[in-house]
């Protein structure tokens, strides 16, 4: 309580702090869906490879494609975080 009386906080700093909080929460939220999605993609690809090892090459190519499409949303979340935080 004693320490808090000496501190003056202006609106600009509060806005900056809220922006940082929003950026952090935003990135965290953006990572949930793609995390689950990549898990599903890779899990099913492993199942397919285990059932049919001779088709592993084709499955792997398709798996990387699936990961790339799923990952895009998380990466857009990351870019938004960087833009909110540093620019």
């Amino acid at each position: 309580m004693l320490a808090a009386t000496n501190v003056t906080i202006n609106a600009q700093e509060i806005l900056k702090g809220l922006g940082a909080v929003g950026a952090g929460i935003g990135y965290g939220a953006a990572a949930i869906g793609p995390g689950i999605g990549i898990g599903i993609v890779v899990g099913n690809a492993i199942t397919a490879m285990a059932r049919q090892p001779e088709a592993a090459g084709m499955v792997r190519t398709t798996m990387f494609l699936g990961i790339a499409f799923t990952e895009a949303l998380a990466l857009i979340g990351f870019v938004v975080f960087i833009l909110l935080k540093f620019t």
Binding site: T61, F78, V79, F86, T87
Partner: protein, 261 residues
């Protein structure tokens, strides 16, 4: 000499999408790295193509293996036999992105030029022009009809489908292609920088002293080990992102070459 030295500075983190003038005349570290990468790729293919030895060795071996990989692993899997005309473009794309990405972990440079939005955006726009051009060349004007609708679609849902597919082809595809490469490279670079700075702070700027000895300095081994591990991981990411950019380009070209049934 002075502009060249000035160009070795990093572009600031606030200049992710701006291309500010550093050094001289808009020339910064990213531009320098791109020029060096282009020269390396050109020289590599020039050297590999000169000898034409029956049993390839060294650089020729590497380049021929990569051309085989793009032909069999990317074009035949996504476009098919008639996509072989795109072999030079896709191989160049793969090598250029790969060499650019590898500058992320090469000392002195230690900066992936793809971590600034301008470069991946230009590459994605080139891909955009190519797949739309291929679509109009192979399907004439029915390319528009074929991409905005599909056989057996109910009339009521057609406007919504056309809107989504149109946005997808015109905006979402090049945007996600560019952002995927950009954000992966930026994230890897930031990870490396974070752990390098943590190591530096623990060794040289440790404020907690116990009898003149910095108490937490031995802990610096942890971020250092992490940095080394991430460096290895970034090699994987560099190759993977070059591969993904190339194969997505091939998928988009293949998609506009054959109409979907």
């Amino acid at each position: 000499m002075v502009p060249l030295l000035g160009s070795l500075q990093f572009p600031q983190i606030g200049e992710l999408v701006d291309w500010k003038t550093l050094g001289g005349a808009g020339f910064n570290k990213a531009s320098l790295t791109i020029i060096v990468a282009s020269v390396i790729v050109l020289a590599m293919f020039f050297v590999a193509g000169r000898k034409k030895a029956m049993v390839p060795t060294g650089v020729q071996n590497l380049v021929e293996a990569s051309v085989d990989f793009v032909a069999d692993g990317i074009i035949m899997q996504t476009i098919g036999e008639e996509g072989m005309g795109f072999l030079p473009y896709l191989t160049t794309l793969f090598w250029f992105i790969l060499v650019c990405n590898l500058f992320e972990i090469i000392p002195i440079f230690q900066f992936p030029p793809m971590a600034r939005m301008a470069m991946p955006m230009v590459l994605a726009l080139v891909t955009w022009v190519i797949y739309n051009g291929v679509g109009f060349k192979h399907q004439k004007l029915s390319y528009i009809k074929n991409s905005l609708s599909m056989p057996g679609l109910p009339k009521a849902i057609l406007p919504l489908y056309a809107l989504i597919e149109g946005l997808q082809i015109l905006i979402v595809r090049p945007f996600s292609l560019a952002v995927r490469l950009f954000a992966n490279m930026l994230a890897g670079h930031l990870l490396l920088v974070t752990f390098a700075l943590l190591t530096d702070a623990l060794i040289f700027h440790d404020g907690v002293k116990a009898g003149g000895f910095p108490l937490f300095s031995p802990l610096a081994i942890l971020p250092l080990a992490m940095d080394i591990g991430i460096t290895g991981f970034e090699v994987l990411v560099a190759v993977l992102q070059a591969f993904i950019f190339t194969i997505l380009t091939a998928v988009y070209i293949g998609g506009s070459m054959h109409p979907e049934h």
